[in-house]
Symmetry: D2
């Protein structure tokens, strides 16, 4: 994939800030591809490392297999040159995950973000998860990143599993949304000899994550605060720690609104404030109430991001 | 649906014992339709109320939309006359659930078992769940039953939600796998004026469930101990409580093996002992170890079901 | 202890209904011993098997070591002849539990209810719990019952642990408040050769518990519905299953109010309605709101227990 | 308290590194006061801000009220001049907590660390917790710090509660052991106008915690790696971020061993390697196995802290 940069050991370089892009829907819940194009045109002006398509913020679980692929294909075409496209390809079964990953590769994804299967919680022990990810990595045409998001799946990838899997040549990294910074630090050290790239799963701890060795962040808040998060990354890299800390602190509360507190429905409302198309969520997700919107607006105002 | 019996208020009668049938796979994980036919021929000789197809024991989450429907179609054709076919049609999104339910109706399902959506746990509040099930019931061609299985989904349907939904003319019942008998008793009383039918979700508490007013059971153990569970039902109905209690007590430990302890991989091994085709599970589920198989064999021997 | 009855193997017989008595406080939170006497005089007229003192409903965690013992002493003196006194003597450490148990024995307790220690959750593995209860039973002057109440402690006693401990000559039973009737049935069968007595920990599943072999119940609701629960026991024993079921069903919702829904603060309010002294709870517990009281009153009215 | 430093607003200054000291026991589980003196003599040579006595690492739940106070008194006397003594005074009831706090103040504690009450989980809502801490702070002779340790208590103090309580003149800070760095950052910003001091509850995220505005750390690992943690603090303050990061990374794995992985039993074994007295834990805690000790030894070796 010559247009993209590589790590020292020749792996796809996934460093930088990635918005896990929200999938825009029309009022009838059909996919609004035109709005997606418009949002992409704005995002393309921001120095993102690339895009995550069909992650949790993309409401991927609410889309058919065909829709999941079409959205990836659309983002590949709309992305500015040099942007890495990471596609969320996880399914509950190993066979479906392999097929989905390769179909997404066929339409142009550079890498795949593979969420932990989670339905039979008692059966998803370490042995099963190692087997699952190994088979997917073996058969995938593109490199994969592990994706652990216990708040949605109820499954928290064990550090031992991650360390074992970091040795696989086609497993190049991890997105961890659990938020346990000590766990992340432990993983950074334990996997660094494998050129394994760990990405913070939230803007709420982006600076601490950089500090302990993460290479970037997949941050829901980058859907509307993308430039600010890229600024934070730059401040950190330039050693301007005091300014970085101030910016990090301003981001914490708005970030909480568009993640844990109000979820994708909150995220889509906030996107509208910043000139992006948000639009409705798919059912059974419900829009936030007007009271919740007021709370969120106050938080964004107090942080100085809106007036 | 004239071939089936109705309740006093004219609803589809789902009383009785239902095996939530395991989907048989070949060694390459493709669906073994011939083995499904053979299993059905044996089950058809047992006085079941009907069959649950594509429930949790059917590994429905590991099948494509097409596969889910084909298996339902196959079971409809292979079932003896008079058996009620309840199809597991739940998807994460409301729109996919409606489409799946109606496609299953089109191939002959009599009712649908609709599991709670569960991915965005923070968003699956009571308001969202009521909205979801109401829309599905409004648009479904066949009556639906609510399906709460917190062990897999992490979502435990609130009694208040169930009571509200029991008023909907097209929501005729509930399968509850949580095992909290006091909760079930409370639901039986609170919904009885709506002719709402509650089914125990496990053989482990079948007799207590009958006692507090449940109308039947969807019991994983019925895949291999179907006649015994129908006997238990009969003993209860004839007032032979002592014999019923003895049988219930013998069933508890084997039932735990094929549900919580060893899951679907255990269930499929035990089916082989009773002359059914079990076969492999789909990955990422893993076969049980030989040590686990020995434990399970001991439990079934001590209970007197195998020698 | 000649005044009390024994099981066939000579153990203290703890069958029957036991109220886990609420500890009455004055408005300044001091213990209202006079009110305790008055409540006891009313309870003594009901055919209870005995009393549980200093269980979770007794707010034992809010009392000093001295207070815990004084209340037991008071109940011993105020109890009618023939009532078994079971004292909640569990502390976090093994040494404190042994001392507390023997001090309660010294003031007249017939048996002790020993709750699982729970603070260091990671350290309370099966080996630690078996060691704890074995040491307590070895050194206790009176027989002990295991007490598992995961809703408060976060620790759910594993069936394997209970079965191992049921072999100890000084561990005569279990109070389980988890409410998983299949687990209880499994325990009844697995421990019956040891003359082990299992008690339901809630009135919400009392009849099912009797049915699968429990010997009685320690039921918070017996603080105000004691006669009704003894009636339920009698109906069961007389084989009047239909009447028993009706009564069980009426009890479910009021029982939920004074346990899970509104806790000890709800229990104490409801006691007042039935002529008992309820009084305040100790801080940090808070009284229920007037809205909650109205809900509770409606539930009790609908069930026909108040007018 | 003239010998101690104050913050700009005149509050007790609790910045710096604090070991939450392990309580040494003799083989018969009695308190080894002589060993405590010896450990203190070693710790006094390290530039700690002070000591936490009777925190979770002190096995305070396994001690009688008298023992808890005597250990505090002993530490007060053995501490070098200028060290701040923070005593863990939390009990389940408000009244016991107030009494314990003031008795610890009487023997010389400078501040109190008050853990969340946790037994009646359903009753420990925000209103109850605000009421509890307010009453304790109102009646305490010394300033208090909130102590949230959900891994042990199952109660995670809500940010809203902390922010409300930070306005109380006698509540000067928080020790948070949950490890959610984004939550800590949010709290730092939201409470900074109140001169509220937030302390990291683990060495696993000490540097990130400093970075987002915490004033210090109460770190179990400081029982044996105290100098190293004080070095980390200094490197951070001198802006030597690269060296600080390296040291932080080396500390993560050993810290995990003496906290989440092996708990107090692991901590006490590791203390012996560094010349401190560790000794036995009180039952029901169990010593670690020899296999666990080997794992721990390997981790400490790989990190370069032992040879």
């Amino acid at each position: 994939v010559s247009r993209l940069s590589s790590t020292s050991s020749g792996r796809l370089d996934v460093s930088g800030i990635y918005p896990p892009i929200a999938t825009p829907f029309n009022m009838d819940e059909s996919i609004a591809f035109d709005k997606l194009t418009e949002n992409m045109q704005k995002w393309n002006k921001i120095p993102f490392g690339g895009y995550v398509v069909q992650g949790s913020n993309g409401e991927y679980v609410y889309q058919t297999a065909e829709e999941r692929i079409k959205v990836v294909e659309h983002v590949v075409k709309a992305a500015a040159p040099g942007k890495v496209i990471l596609a969320g390809s996880g399914c509950e079964s190993t066979r479906d995950t392999i097929e989905m990953t390769n179909r997404m590769a066929d339409v142009g994804a550079d890498g795949a973000l593979v969420v932990t299967p989670s339905y039979y919680k008692g059966g998803m022990h370490n042995r099963a998860l190692i087997s699952h990810f190994t088979k997917v990595a073996d058969d995938s045409k593109i490199p994969i990143l592990l994706y652990s998001v216990p708040g949605n799946t109820g499954i928290d990838l064990d550090p031992e599993v991650i360390i074992v899997l970091s040795c696989h040549p086609n497993i190049i990294g991890l997105k961890d949304s659990g938020g346990d910074i000590a766990k992340l630090a432990h993983l950074v050290i334990s996997t660094q000899s494998n050129d394994f790239q760990i990405m913070a799963g939230s803007a709420g701890f982006l600076l601490p994550a950089y500090l302990i060795g993460c290479v970037g962040g997949v941050c829901g808040a980058a859907n509307m605060l993308g430039q600010e998060l890229c600024d934070l990354e730059q401040l950190y890299k330039q050693g301007k720690l005091k300014e970085a800390t101030n910016l990090q602190q301003r981001i914490v509360a708005p970030n909480a609104c568009v993640t844990k507190r109000f979820g994708v429905p909150g995220l889509k409302v906030a996107m509208e404030w910043f000139g992006y198309y948000g639009g409705p969520v798919r059912s059974p997700l419900q829009p936030i109430t007007s009271e919740q919107e007021e709370i969120m607006r106050t938080v964004f105002k107090l942080s100085g991001f809106i007036h």
